[in-house]
């Protein structure tokens, strides 16, 4: 059973928080909403989990638009919000029991699953400890465990690893991947590129309520070309220095795409040259223009480059 979101939109007074969002999601697959603050990610998530009412759009599941029946959406989803909104006065087990109760699960039957989830989240030893005494990572894992209590078909995560150290983040990613292997689909809002790369099959890059680019991480990276060039002619490059470099590369035509960057002269290179060949070409061109190379970095495009080029505008 696949989920199809069509034309989802929301405005606040005269501001279009989300202009139009559409995507489809197969079981066990993941989609990421990637964008800066104010891009419309959180609005989209709040609409999907029924915390906000959409101005338009469809949430199609099994041939039905569930926006007409929000309670059906709530039964379908597990949700982990950006805020660590936990009840600090309950223990881990009590928190799970509370969540089971509000989801109409009898503790007799859901209790073993809850304890198993706590165990898989590495919280067995802390299960009788007050949540207020948990670390940030433990709270995140407990939050995730509570979202998985009903065995949801779709997991909606809004920046689930914010504020966690690398080890804690990797633990959570591993756990999420495990649940996805069991058929759980994932909708992820994040501005953590590695998280998006690790977990998702489809990425929607958003800005000011619109989707700028979408595709799989590999498809998106391939749109940038073969290599990314980051060049400096001095330690701190001013506008004048960047203009000089830009003039050098204007001669290369469609082979490169210029990107405005605060620190480097950054370009996406579409040609077929190898790294070594490209490096020589750059040194030659710079020497011809009588410009010094202070630093040069060549690398394959990553998701962050796709994001920066999409948001920063291509020149």
């Amino acid at each position: 059973m696949s989920l199809e979101i069509k034309g989802l939109r929301k405005s606040y007074k005269n501001v279009d928080a989300l202009k139009s969002l559409s995507f489809s999601l197969e079981p066990g697959k993941a989609v990421a909403l990637l964008g800066p603050n104010g891009a419309g990610k959180s609005t989209a998530i709040k609409l999907l989990v029924t915390l906000l009412q959409p101005d338009g759009g469809e949430f199609n599941w099994q041939g039905q638009n569930l926006f007409e029946k929000p309670s059906a959406i709530r039964n379908l989803l597990g949700y982990v919000s950006q805020e660590l909104a936990m009840d600090k006065q309950l223990t881990g087990t009590e928190f799970m029991r509370f969540c089971a109760g509000v989801k109409h699960l009898h503790w007799k039957t859901s209790g073993p699953r809850a304890l198993d989830l706590l165990d898989r989240m590495g919280l067995s030893e802390a299960k009788d400890q007050l949540v207020g005494e948990y670390s940030g990572g433990m709270k995140r894992r407990l939050d995730l465990a509570s979202a998985l209590l009903t065995e949801p078909q779709i997991l909606v995560l809004d920046e689930p690893t914010t504020g966690l150290d690398v080890e804690a983040r990797e633990t959570i990613w591993k756990l999420i991947r495990g649940f996805m292997e069991q058929g759980c689909s994932l909708i992820l809002a994040s501005h953590d590129f590695r998280e998006v790369q690790e977990l998702t099959d489809q990425v929607l890059i958003m800005e000011k309520g619109s989707v700028l680019k979408e595709g799989s991480p590999d498809e998106l990276k391939s749109t940038l070309g073969n290599l990314i060039i980051r060049l400096k002619t001095q330690e701190f490059m001013g506008a004048e220095a960047k203009t000089s470099v830009r003039r050098v590369f204007e001669k290369w035509g469609d082979e490169v795409t210029w990107h405005d960057d605060e620190v480097f002269a950054t370009l996406a290179f579409r040609g077929s040259d190898s790294m070594t060949q490209l490096q020589s070409r750059i040194y030659d061109a710079m020497s011809e223009a009588d410009l010094e190379v202070y630093s040069l970095n060549l690398q394959r495009p990553d998701l962050e480059d796709v994001y920066r080029f999409a948001l920063g505008g291509q020149r």
């Binding site: 989990v49 029924t50 309670s71 109760g101």
Partner: protein, 269 residues
């Protein structure tokens, strides 16, 4: 178990765990009425008020007021945890849960406040009984006390919860509670009978829900021969009986419930 009951039970259970983990909140709710009871009764020990009130002692006279005040204060503070839940994002967690009705959040909070109020009132009744204040109205009188406290609790819990959804921050609600509490207690018959008050005050005193609750309690506390229809105090608009006081309180509940339902349903979606 019915799913609606399951969710109310889970939501109320959380509040009871809070009360268990923070007993100071429950105890502090008891301290103020107890201070009033024992300090006021000491201050007014030799005043002629005790004779006019017909209750034998000033301590006895203000015991019903202390019970109503306990219920009133607990109920009026009832919206504060909900406002904290709103501020901290915990309410969103409840709103994305597949609740049969989001109003279960309100029912559970009201139930918790009422049970805690009854426990606090029970402590006051035990203490005042030890000090010689007895409920003379029998078992039926006891039931009137519970019913009256339930009506007061429900009325002010509904008001407080409505404010919790209208206001943005908890300190706004705390300020309103502080502003409302004292006038509500003093513009009532909790501390003095209506006949001691100037004429202009008799209208607000008689319409004050605290008076409408204190007077029936006073009747069943001190009159072994109390009856539903007998006049217990003279309001400027009518002679009030236990029945009429409870009916007015009930109607007040219906009115505020009707108004609150719209506000809360709009906020909860």
């Amino acid at each position: 178990m019915n799913e609606r009951l399951m969710e109310i039970r889970a939501l109320a259970w959380r509040w009871f765990l809070h009360s268990k983990r923070t007993p100071m909140v429950v105890i502090s709710g008891l301290i103020q009425p107890l201070i009033w009871l024992f300090l006021f009764s000491a201050v007014f020990k030799n005043s002629p008020m005790r004779e006019l009130a017909g209750s034998g002692s000033y301590l006895a006279f203000i015991t019903p007021g202390a019970l109503v005040f306990t219920a009133f204060t607990a109920a009026l503070n009832g919206g504060i945890p909900i406002l904290f839940d709103r501020e901290l994002g915990f309410l969103d967690r409840l709103l994305v849960a597949p609740l049969i009705s989001r109003l279960s959040i309100i029912w559970a909070t009201g139930f918790h406040i009422f049970v805690m109020t009854l426990l606090q009132c029970l402590v006051i009744i035990v203490l005042t009984t030890i000090m010689g204040v007895y409920i003379k109205g029998g078992l039926l009188g006891g039931m009137v006390i519970v019913l009256t406290l339930a009506l007061v609790s429900l009325l002010f819990t509904t008001l407080s919860l409505t404010l919790a959804f209208v206001l943005r921050r908890h300190f706004e609600l705390i300020s309103i509670v502080m502003i409302i509490s004292l006038p509500m207690a003093f513009i009532s018959t909790a501390f003095a009978p209506v006949k001691y008050m100037p004429a202009w005050l008799t209208w607000p005193v008689s319409l004050n829900p605290v008076t409408l609750a204190v007077e029936p309690l006073r009747a069943v506390f001190f009159d072994s021969g109390w009856s539903w229809g007998a006049t217990i105090y003279q309001a400027p608009f009518a002679d009030m009986s236990v029945t009429s006081c409870l009916v007015v309180l009930g109607l007040g509940n219906l009115l505020i419930g009707y108004l609150a339902r719209g506000v809360i349903a709009r906020k909860l979606g």
